[in-house]
């Protein structure tokens, strides 16, 4: 059965195949706005698809990825809802329309497809990639410790059996390398946002160092305003700050890499925590979570649009 964008249930978790099929239908329904592009293959050979929202050529761009950690299912589900929101609001939401009339938006809904499939088939609590670690019985690398940003530093493990194993080298994970190559070859990304769950945090660089980045005051101010917008819907309270101080030192993270690559507006979100479910947030909370997150994402993107650099 082919799913249409009308028939997919956004208040449900879906398999990789369903999400990928749904992407096709979204593209079919919004041909002048959305395209599905393969950015490469995962370790186990699965395609990695990014949805590109674009109304012109040679535009500066915003990057959003969801679900780099496989078990954080509300992240991928939020990505699906968000993609639909962008496609359906374009043309009716004046602010979003103006954004997409001047910038492109790339949305990678399943940033770790092998891990995501593994959470559906073998181990719901799997976090990492599924690459083989030579000399170890344990598989997988934490793809958010594998970026070339203080790689191998504090907050990452040298043990392949650890959930925060950084891998043998920076960008050793093809899932990371695919994104790095796309961002680098594009050369005009102005914002990079990674969406995780759960902890209710909105963070900016650095994680590999506790020193402040040069843009800290602006990033902090944007982050706090975004968190305020998010809270306006259901009162969900976020903490805002740099990764190192708000959680703990964590080297090799995606937004540290993007910031050091010159993408000033680099943020990471940790979606909602009800204090009852951890990674197993009930599907009934997907839409509320995505809806409140959208307000924060939109605020950040509007700031990016209005503050060219």
């Amino acid at each position: 059965l082919e799913l249409s964008t009308r028939s997919i249930n956004f208040a449900a978790y879906h398999t990789l195949d369903t999400i990928y099929s749904w992407m096709d239908s979204l593209v079919a329904q919004h041909p002048g706005l959305v395209t599905k592009e393969e950015v490469g293959r995962s370790y186990e050979g699965r395609p990695m698809y990014v949805l590109k929202f674009s109304t012109g050529s040679d535009r500066p761009a915003i990057w959003i990825d969801t679900g780099i950690h496989a078990r954080e299912w509300v992240s991928q589900a939020t990505g699906v809802w968000t993609a639909n929101k962008i496609a359906t609001d374009y043309g009716s939401d004046a602010s979003l329309t103006s954004l997409l009339n001047s910038m492109d938006l790339y949305l990678l809904i399943v940033a770790n497809p092998d891990g995501y499939v593994y959470t559906h088939t073998r181990d719901r609590m799997w976090r990492k990639t599924r690459s083989v670690n030579p000399g170890s019985a344990c598989r997988g690398v934490d793809p958010n410790r594998n970026w070339d940003a203080g790689f191998g530093g504090p907050g990452a493990s040298t043990n392949p059996c650890s959930d925060s194993y950084h891998g043998p080298a920076a960008h050793s994970e093809v899932e990371v390398k695919n994104v790095v190559d796309l961002i680098t070859s594009h050369g005009n990304f102005k914002s990079f946002i990674s969406v995780h769950a759960y902890s209710q945090l909105l963070m900016y660089p650095y994680g590999y160092s506790c020193s402040h980045v040069p843009d800290q005051p602006e990033l902090d101010s944007v982050g706090r305003a975004a968190a305020q917008k998010l809270a306006s819907l259901y009162g969900t309270s976020y903490r805002v700050g740099n990764i190192c101080n708000i959680i703990y030192p964590a080297s090799g993270g995606s937004i540290d890499w993007s910031y050091d690559a010159g993408i000033k507006y680099s943020f990471a979100l940790e979606l909602r925590d009800t204090g009852r479910y951890g990674f197993l947030l009930p599907a009934s909370q997907i839409v509320p979570t995505a809806s409140e997150t959208w307000l924060a994402l939109k605020h950040i993107m509007e700031h990016v649009r209005d503050h060219p650099y």
């Binding site: 088939t121 181990d123 719901r124 609590m125 703990y248 197993l280």
Partner: protein
Amino acid sequence: QRLFVGDQVIRINAESEEQIQLLQALETQEEWELEFWRRPVSTGLPVDVRVPRGSLEPVRSYLLAHDLPFSVLISNLQELLNEEKAEMERNQK
């Protein structure tokens, strides 16, 4: 498929730096096979840890012995997983 029958997820709210250090010591305790969903960092953030069924007693004793305030976030992880799976199957139908 990996099962988590009887595993609990416990939320610990450390109230001092000393208690954070006690929890950090737990992270290195490999014998109990704990999985930290949220690691011990500061008193402002709760610590969530998945405790395998077989380690529940020693972990609870450890927490009680050190006056570490905790509550049960998930009383049986597999039950929650089963509910999630059933809901997905219903949705697919």
